[in-house]
């Protein structure tokens, strides 16, 4: 799965394990990149990179120190910059050695050794992209620039060719006067160019364009090889000072089997320039400790290489007392060890109690539950508590709410009754442990009346096939294909063809009004198509990065889609769900945001994601089992207090993240602590905010604190950043003050029972913060109550202060 999640370089010639190198350091492996070369033209050259991996995982670029020998002479030669240059057809093996270790590169030079023909699609288009001509801010914008338009990042080469060579008024090529071609004049600023200088007239890119124009600016033959694989090599490097640089290569493999060095043609960028930068020629330089991904874009592909820059300190050792509680910790610890980060210690019982209640149930522990847990002396009491909480209905209600957000259950599109029935179905499915794959199939294949078969409401939220496809991709795979509606995805592999072919699965969803005019009937109409925006032709259903299945006329296309999506072999489905669940408990996805899966946004710990997904599939897509594994991991139970090594780590789960309580949990917590629960509009008495079936049901409080309106499938709709109105609402608003003073509230109950103030103060702390006040806090509060005009108003103020403390509002 990981391999598919982000295309990893496969080919590295490897030799030797755990032998000592000349310096006495243990060597893990010795690799040369690429490990196979297949050339068909005499003016091609392929550079080589040799890398040594030490036993501690750090890597060194050893290209300059390696020895190169060929098994046979006269086929290729090595030039001064260590490029393999063809001489004659044939095969040979290159052996690269260093200090007694060796690795091989298989080399094939095809018979037709002749100068490479410059083609439009394989040469000119990549230059236009490398030079930035077809970017969104330049000629790739929807209207073009200054009368000249190119397709964005070259998604439509045919149109680009016509624009460049044929379009009257905007033609930029003059085959009879190459240097007079406006394209070359503009790009070199020989005539004024708003976009500035894009090409060096003495450089190879300019020369390639010139060659193409000299050849008559020909269009490509129909059998032109296309890029089938793109690799960035080496796939990962770990730089320990004094090592600061690593040369990367970008190698394209074409449909005819030939390879090509496209390092200088690819667009290169770093996900984190502060950690590591990359030059135009793919030299990576580490700047400060951290992790960065170098992305290369070429043709319709984007690939990344991971760069880890370690701190210069030596002497890092993994603390012996930190051991894995389950498989989750093993993967997290492995990554942390690699980064030389020590995780924070496990949190206290009281801290654990509060956050596990909030995360699993969305409510606070009661003082009774607090007392019971603190008094429990069994060593496995945390795991027992997790098991107990997972069986409570609030757990499934919480997840039903989270799914309802993704599925956009709200009454304006579904009707109020539809929203209630759909929510109830979802809640019953999750509470009944319906496997998530089955749940998703029930949604995708739903048929019948939206009141009689509530999952059919799935097809009322959006009615256009393209928007359905976008939502399905984003919600169930985390992939955002929206960009590809108009142009190829700039940072991913998704093309317009992929987009419309995926949308075609929803082209035959029929909808008719039921006898009850509020209800709709969803059915397979068996006919209808989605038209491709560019070609105007009906798109044939095709899975994302998959096959175009055989579909008999009239068959329900959704069935096939559902089978493909929920198959254990699907690379995204299980991973995307476990990632969402992980993000809920840990505050951040392994891929983050969880619904933005793309090559250029790789998982911070692919092995962990893979393991979670595999376990999830193995468990029968069981949400409770997944949540149990996460909650029982040491990683989940970490304290939020950071140490020197992990303070700056935000991606690798080395300490707990402090998060504001979600709107529903906060309102519930206030109601629970004050014993004055909110009566929510549109919900029966006693219903909690988590049970709201509609994005509008409830109260002003929920909107203020960022509950999503369920207008999009994006997780970004839920807002947890603080706002001024939130602060004012808590400080001055009716919610807290009225509930503190409520006639049936906790304070009223406690004061009426003649309980001494210090006991009341203690209960307020336990109820709100799941801890007893410190001696200092208690004496301060007692003193304050004593100085107040009356005990009751003093206690109200103390209560108010506790509920306005960050400790109450945050999950920590």
């Amino acid at each position: 799965m990981t391999d598919k999640l982000h295309i990893r370089a496969a080919g590295a010639a490897t030799f030797g394990l755990a032998v000592l190198c000349a310096h006495g350091e243990p060597i893990e492996s010795w690799n040369v990149f690429p490990n196979a070369i297949h050339l068909a033209a005499q003016d091609e050259a392929v550079p080589l990179v040799a890398m040594l991996t030490r036993a501690d995982g750090t890597t060194v670029d050893m290209t300059a120190k390696a020895q190169f020998t060929f098994s046979s002479e006269g086929i290729v030669r090595l030039d001064n910059s260590r490029h393999v240059v063809p001489i004659a057809p044939g095969t040979t093996t290159l052996t690269v050695t260093y200090e007694g270790h060796s690795a091989q590169v298989a080399i094939v030079i095809a018979p037709a050794v002749q100068p490479r023909r410059t083609t439009f699609r394989n040469d000119v288009e990549p230059i236009l992209m490398k030079a930035g001509c077809n970017s969104g801010a330049c000629h790739g914008s929807a209207q073009g620039k200054d009368g000249f338009k190119l397709s964005l990042f070259g998604y439509d080469p045919h149109a680009d060719y016509l624009h460049l060579t044929r379009e009257s008024g905007a033609r930029r090529i003059d085959v009879s006067d190459r240097e007079g071609s406006l394209m070359l004049q503009k790009a070199t600023t020989r005539v004024p160019h708003e976009g500035g200088k894009r090409l060096d007239p003495d450089g190879p890119l300019y020369a390639a364009l010139a060659r193409w124009i000299d050849a008559g600016a020909p269009d490509d033959p129909p059998d032109l090889p296309t890029v089938s694989v793109l690799e960035i090599l080496p796939p990962e490097c770990v730089l320990l000072p004094p090592e600061r640089t690593q040369q990367l290569l970008v190698i394209a493999t074409y449909s005819d089997g030939t390879t090509r060095d496209v390092t200088d043609l690819a667009l290169l960028s770093s996900s984190d320039e502060v950690t590591a930068g990359v030059s135009a020629h793919a030299l990576v330089t580490a700047n400060q400790p951290g992790e960065a991904f170098i992305m290369a874009r070429f043709a319709t592909f984007a690939v990344v290489s991971q760069v880890i820059a370690l701190p210069p300190s030596t002497g890092f050792t993994w603390p012996a007392d930190i051991t894995a509680c389950n498989y989750i910790d093993e993967f997290v610890h492995a990554k942390l060890a690699r980064l030389r980060i020590t995780p924070s210690p496990v949190c206290s019982d009281a801290t654990f109690l509060r956050f596990v209640y909030l995360d699993v149930l969305g409510v606070l522990p009661t003082p009774q539950e607090f007392a019971r847990f603190m008094a429990d002396e069994r060593p496995d009491k945390r795991a027992r508590l997790v098991d107990e909480l997972l069986q409570r209905p609030q757990f499934c209600e919480l997840w039903a709410m989270k799914w309802a957000e993704l599925l956009r259950i709200e009454s304006s599109k579904l009707t109020p009754k539809g929203a209630v029935l759909y929510s109830a179905w979802l809640r019953d499915a999750i509470c009944g442990d319906m496997p998530i794959d089955k749940l998703v199939r029930a949604l995708l294949c739903a048929e019948g009346g939206t009141y009689h078969n509530p999952p059919a409401n799935f097809y009322l939220v959006e009615t256009s096939p393209t928007e359905m496809a976008e939502n399905v991709a984003q919600v169930f795979t985390g992939i955002r294909i929206q960009c590809a509606q108009c142009h190829n995805h700039p940072f991913e592999r998704w093309t317009q063809d992929d987009y419309y072919s995926f949308a075609a699965f929803f082209a035959q969803v029929g909808r008719k009004t039921a006898e009850d005019p509020r209800e709709s009937v969803i059915y397979n109409s068996g006919s209808g198509d989605v038209k491709h925006l560019r070609t105007g032709q009906p798109a044939r259903p095709k899975f994302l990065a998959g096959a175009a299945p055989e579909i008999s006329a009239g068959a329900d296309r959704r069935q096939l889609l559902a089978e493909w999506l929920t198959s254990p072999d699907n690379p995204w489905f299980a991973a995307s769900i476990v990632n969402r669940v992980w993000a809920h408990f840990l505050g951040r996805g392994i891929i983050d945001p969880p619904d933005d899966v793309r090559v250029s946004n790789p998982p911070s710990n692919p092995q962990l994601l893979h393991a979670l997904a595999a376990k999830f599939v193995q468990s029968g897509y069981n949400l409770r089992a997944l949540a149990r594994d996460i909650c029982n991991s040491r990683t989940y139970q970490l304290s939020s207090e950071a140490n020197a090594s992990n303070a700056s780590d935000e991606r690798n789960f080395s300490h707990a993240r402090i998060r504001r309580l979600p709107a529903e949990a906060l309102l519930e917590a206030i109601g629970q602590v004050t014993e004055a629960p909110e009566k929510l509009n549109g919900l029966p008495l006693g219903a909690r905010a988590t049970q709201a079936t509609d994005a509008k049901a409830g109260s002003y409080f929920l909107e203020t604190f960022g509950r999503p309106a369920r207008q999009t499938a994006c997780t970004c709709e839920r807002r947890d950043e603080p706002t001024l109105s939130q602060a004012l609402h808590l400080i001055n608003g009716a919610t807290i003050t009225e509930k503190i003073r409520a006639a049936n509230g906790r304070l009223e109950r406690l004061t009426k029972a003649n309980i001494p103030p210090e006991k009341i103060i203690e209960e307020l702390y336990v109820a709100a913060l799941a801890r007893v006040p410190s001696a200092e806090e208690l004496s301060l509060a007692r003193e304050y109550v004593g100085s107040a005009p009356d005990v009751r108003s003093g206690l109200e103020d103390v209560f108010w202060a506790v509920l306005n403390s960050p400790e109450f509002i945050f999950n920590h």
């Binding site: 008024g169 009454s411 029935l421 048929e447 009141y451």
Partner: protein, 783 residues
């Protein structure tokens, strides 16, 4: 014509019946009847509340069994009545209207039940503290918004509970009840929401294995019970079948039927009455009670075929005769039922499915194939979820009819009856939705539109109102064969007693085969986005004589025709009673085809108004009835009508064609109008150019019946707006009998140019971006 009037006129041009100012003399309005029903065999005190209910006189009941014993005026918003409900009164909903001295109210429903009645007592929101009741019982409750109502009762081991709610059916807004049965521990034993028989109103039956306290909860399905959200919850042991099979039979015969969906019932033989109407339905009686709402049952004399399973393929099709009624059940998911019959080339049949109309969950898809061959005809949903189509037999031979569910569902209640009949002419009458009744003040007139739906015949219709209250006479023209509506004017003698009755509206086509039709229409009570959620079908028109009002109106019949493409002002004169100063709104009740009309107000000190009329180029020629309606506010809106007047639509005297004209700013030009005379006329016609843009003026010209061309000079001011003006036309006025006949030409193009001198010495015009681009030097020019 003000802008509202224009809109009104343009809508009416489409041939839509013009909405009258809101009907109802005095507009008494009935908001709600409480309690929402009563037990039969009892007398009930019932409160009617609404607006303008003063001088309440009686209640108009549509069905027998409920009578008014006593009526008491509490206030102008509140009337208290004592109703006697006969012991043999039909269970279910009884439509009624309250009649006051100033008019009739909206139709409301009053329910009749079989069990002792109680009223819900709040608080009963929590299952832990329900309202305790004894069965059998009918609870009159209310669950607005997110209210929950819980009722607790004791049950013996083995006891059966039947529960049914009348909620949405009561017609009080969108209230869609859900019924849930819990045991004392809070466990859900059964829940019910919608079903095909009682629609949004749930029913359930349950047998208790053990004795104890049980709780029934009522709430709105979306926690949004609208308006009053009243309901009647019936709890007991009454039979509650969900279907009957076969779902139809012949009049006067004994039919053995099987009840489906209720284990307490099996088979019984029913006597089908001779006079069963279109809405006939059967109640079931057992020792434990009577089913609260009946199951619909089709009654007609078609030869009856019952499916013989297996009939899942054309080969195993059940033989049947056509015309005939084919009865069956789509018993399981995926089931298809087939029937086969022989027919001769050219035979034409109407095939109509009765399934959802009879309360069956089946969403039928039906078709007829040549046996072993291709489909001849098929349909889905032509009659709501039910299907209907006309079948023309292409060749002599055997045919197979298939029926299945749209979603391939099936079950024991999925009954259907396909009626295959010869094509039979049919006529149904109705009134517009906003004219559900008509009230005529003493010594005055009022009018109503009768619509006709003719199927499979044509021809003029005579409309008759039978059973009018004393002192009323109706007058109306024959409905012409090319229209589907006619106005009827009712006149009340000054001495006519105040009375209301339900009138049989009869339409007759006196052709070779005499075709008779009656009123049948659905009155919408609850709607959702202009769709019906609850409606009541009625077959008679409420007509009432009401107290005299201080104004009358009359149309001054025009002495000239209205020409096609022409306009006219129709004069309406009001006679005001002493001191009556209210403004009177006037409009046309029903526009003749192709005619548009506007509205007008007769001001406080005025006695007449002009109603603008205009005619399409293809307005229907000839003489048409025309009626004005007038309304004024007399403690609520009061409506009366004019007499039935005549309006003649005629061809214009001439056809006119305008030539395209150019005129320069600051100069003059001539618009050439070519005339093709159509009809002779006396004297001279005046031709005027209309629709000119600002800063242009034209001089009128004259023509006689011989004129072939006129020239209309047009002058453009120096700053006249440049460009193409497409709405210029000629208006012709011919005087006849002292009144004008006015009509227009089609519109033509007038172009205003710059003065010629300026064009010659023109400054360079600003250059557009496109032109700039065209002038941008090509690459080669840049060197």
């Amino acid at each position: 014509m003000d802008s509202a009037g224009k809109l009104f006129g343009s809508l009416c041009l489409l041939g839509v019946i013009c909405p009258a100012p809101r009907a109802g003399a005095g507009s008494p309005s009935l908001e709600v009847v409480l309690p929402r029903g009563a037990q039969r065999g009892t007398a009930a005190t019932v409160d009617f509340s609404g607006a303008h209910l003063d001088k309440a006189l009686s209640i108009v009941f549509y069905r027998p069994g409920v009578t008014l014993n006593h009526i008491e005026q509490v206030s102008d918003k509140h009337v208290r009545c004592t109703l006697a409900i006969a012991a043999d009164c039909a269970l279910g909903l009884h439509p009624l209207r309250l009649f006051t001295a100033s008019g009739l109210t909206e139709l409301r429903l009053f329910a009749v039940g079989d069990a002792p009645e109680i009223t819900e007592q709040e608080p009963n929101d929590a299952r832990s503290a329900p309202q305790l009741v004894r069965l059998p019982v009918t609870i009159n409750g209310q669950a607005a918004g997110d209210d929950l109502d819980c009722f607790g009762f004791e049950a013996q081991p083995g006891a059966r509970l039947a529960a049914e709610i009348e909620g949405m059916r009561l017609g009080g807004g969108i209230f869609d009840p859900v019924l849930t049965l819990y045991d004392a521990q809070g466990k859900v034993l059964a829940t019910a929401d919608d079903n095909a028989l009682t629609k949004q109103d749930p029913v359930l039956s349950y047998s208790f294995a053990s004795g104890g306290t049980y709780i029934v909860e009522v709430r709105d399905a979306a926690y949004r019970g609208e308006r009053h959200a009243y309901y009647r919850l019936h709890l007991g042991d009454f039979p509650r079948p969900m279907a009957v099979f076969p779902p139809g039979g012949a009049p006067g015969q004994a039919v053995e039927v099987r009840w489906v969906g209720d284990s307490t019932l099996a088979r019984e033989t029913i006597a089908v009455p001779n006079d069963a109407g279109a809405d006939y339905a059967i109640f079931v009686r057992t020792g434990a009670g009577t089913s609260l709402s009946p199951v619909p049952f089709r009654v007609n004399g078609l030869p009856q075929t019952i499916e013989a399973e297996p009939n899942d393929s054309p080969e195993s099709a059940t033989p049947c005769t056509v015309p005939g009624a084919l009865n069956g059940i789509v018993t399981k998911p995926g089931d298809v039922d087939w029937f086969r019959f022989s027919a001769a080339k050219g035979q034409v049949f109407d095939c109509r499915v009765y399934a959802r109309q009879l309360g069956s969950p089946l969403d039928a898809v039906v078709g007829v194939n040549k046996l072993g061959g291709a489909t001849v005809a098929s349909n889905d949903d032509s009659a709501g979820p039910d299907s209907a189509f006309r079948l023309t037999i292409p060749d002599d031979g055997d045919y197979a009819l298939y029926i299945h569910d749209f979603l391939r569902a099936g079950g024991e209640c999925y009954t259907y009856r396909v009626e295959v009949t010869n094509v039979t002419p049919a006529l149904t009458l109705s009134t517009p939705p906003d004219q559900q009744h008509v009230c005529i003040p003493q010594g005055n007139r009022n009018a109503i539109v009768i619509n006709a739906a003719r199927s499979d015949f044509g021809g003029p219709l005579q409309i008759e109102l039978s059973g009018l209250p004393a002192g009323l006479t109706a007058s109306g023209d024959t409905m012409r064969d090319n229209v589907a509506a006619v106005p009827i004017v009712l006149t009340a003698e000054a001495t006519a007693p105040l009375a209301a009755s339900l009138v049989d509206v009869i339409g007759q086509c006196s052709g070779e085969s005499k075709i008779v039709g009656h009123l049948r229409q659905s009155i919408r009570l609850t709607e959702y986005m202009n769709n019906t959620l609850c409606a009541q079908t009625v077959d008679r028109l409420p007509v009432a004589v009401t107290e005299r009002v201080p104004f009358e109106v009359q149309i001054i019949e025009p002495r000239v025709p209205l020409a096609r493409r022409g306009q006219m002002s129709l004069k309406v004169v009001a006679t005001r009673g002493e001191g009556f100063k209210e403004p009177i709104q006037v409009g046309v009740l029903l526009n003749p085809p192709g005619i548009g009309s506007g509205t007008a107000t007769i001001g406080p000190d005025q006695t007449e108004a002009l109603l603008p009329l205009n005619a399409n180029p293809d307005a229907a020629l000839g003489e048409w009835p025309i009626v004005a309606i007038a309304s004024a506010n007399i403690n609520g809106l009061v409506q009366v009508s004019s007499q039935l007047a005549r309006l003649t639509i005629a061809e214009p005297f001439m056809d006119l064609a305008l030539e395209r004209t150019r005129v320069s700013q600051g100069s003059t030009a001539e618009v050439v109008v070519n005339i093709a005379p159509q009809h002779d006329f006396e004297g001279e016609a005046v031709l005027e150019l209309r629709g000119l843009p600002n800063k242009l003026s034209a001089t009128p010209a004259k023509a006689t019946k011989e004129t072939k061309q006129v020239v209309l000079p047009v002058a453009a001011a120096p700053d006249a707006p440049l460009g193409r003006h497409e709405g210029v036309f000629v208006q012709v006025t011919v005087m006849q009998n002292g009144e004008p006949i006015v009509f227009n030409s089609a519109s033509a193009l007038l172009i205003v140019d710059r003065p010629p001198a300026e064009t010659a010495s023109a400054q360079p015009a600003p250059v557009g971006k496109a032109e700039r681009r065209a002038r941008t030097p090509r690459a080669r020019d840049i060197h």
